[in-house]
Symmetry: C2
Subunit: 205 residues, 2 copies
């Protein structure tokens, strides 16, 4: 029987929509889903741990990894680099384990180009006003950064076409249930796993 | 805001795979999902009720409805006709309610032609041997009918390509959970409902 490959869930969306909170909650509740740890040159926020939330790298280290082709995707957002180291994800998927990748929208587009069999999930705020409230409430961005991010938000929402699924994040537990259902349903997709099924029945003939 | 149309779930698969049991269980557990009641010319099995399990019709009534174009699909399986009356389903979907349609595979193909936005789910037995055991155990078919059905089973399984999802029905509760996840995930599909989302955000600008 053909071994079932793991699913790569790419969770993205406008900054402040709550993709990080949803991903943290689903990982807490599902031991069998693994988190892809990204690399970044931005400074850690309160409580963020190197190797857990991100690999916090100096700009020189990051650009050296780009040159060696060691990222599945990378992007410059405002003044910082973000990227996804390639090899660890591919090894995990080959073992049959599912991986969640929480990234900015530029990065999601690059992953789709090189790994279109990923599942692309777009996390939306319930409203634009709510999005602004959340960014302000987080208190980690300067006033200038907040305005920059908010002015991009509607343009970003129009990029929903690049994604397979959307989640309107009103309530984290509801959003987690929706994401779990997406993962479950993808495991029942004919286009994804029919060879495993047909082979199994052929063995009986 | 655009009103969300209901989903039409078309559940099919080889006879004896357990599609009827799964549909009954999911309907028992979910008040908001409606069952499409099919029409048939076959005789009622023990406990089956007219208007609940099927509309049991005489052959003359059935062919008259065919002539008037009143079926979403119809098929002749062995010596009997099966069909799905069109108007009730369309009214329910327009109200935003989901409908489950449990039908034979010939019928599923016809529904796909006229209603491709349906969700097509293929229910499989865990093995061909288990399929045979179930048909025999049901005790409602003659020996000749059992052989006829079993010899079609592998050919039928190869028709999995006509479907969006498959469910390997080992355990009814697990199958119901998988079907519920399919319904949930389809409500988060960008291609299906993105207009509802984009309109909502435009209203805020």
């Amino acid at each position: 029987m053909v071994k079932r490959k793991g699913l790569l869930l790419v969770v993205s969306g406008p900054s402040g929509a709550g993709k990080g909170t949803i991903c943290k909650a689903i990982l807490d509740q599902n031991d069998q889903i693994k988190l892809s740890v990204s690399a970044t040159t931005r400074k850690p926020r309160n409580g963020e741990v190197h190797g857990v939330n991100y690999f916090f790298l100096e700009k020189e280290e990051f650009t050296s990894m780009i040159a060696k082709g060691e990222f599945l995707e990378y992007a410059q957002i405002y003044d910082n680099f973000y990227g996804t180291p390639k090899s660890a994800i591919m090894e995990t998927l080959d073992k049959g384990q599912d991986v969640i990748l929480e990234i900015e929208m530029q990065g999601a587009r690059q992953v789709k180009e090189v790994y279109p069999e990923g599942i692309f999930v777009f996390v939306l705020p319930p409203s634009l006003q709510e999005l602004k409230n959340r960014i302000v409430g987080r208190g980690t961005e300067t006033a200038e950064e907040i305005e920059k991010r908010f002015s991009c938000a509607f343009k970003e929402i129009n990029q929903i076409d690049d994604y397979d699924y959307f989640i309107v994040n009103k309530d984290v537990e509801k959003s987690v249930k929706e994401l779990e259902a997406i993962i479950s349903s993808e495991k029942n997709k004919v286009t994804r796993y029919k060879n495993n099924i047909i082979e199994k029945f052929k063995e009986e003939l």
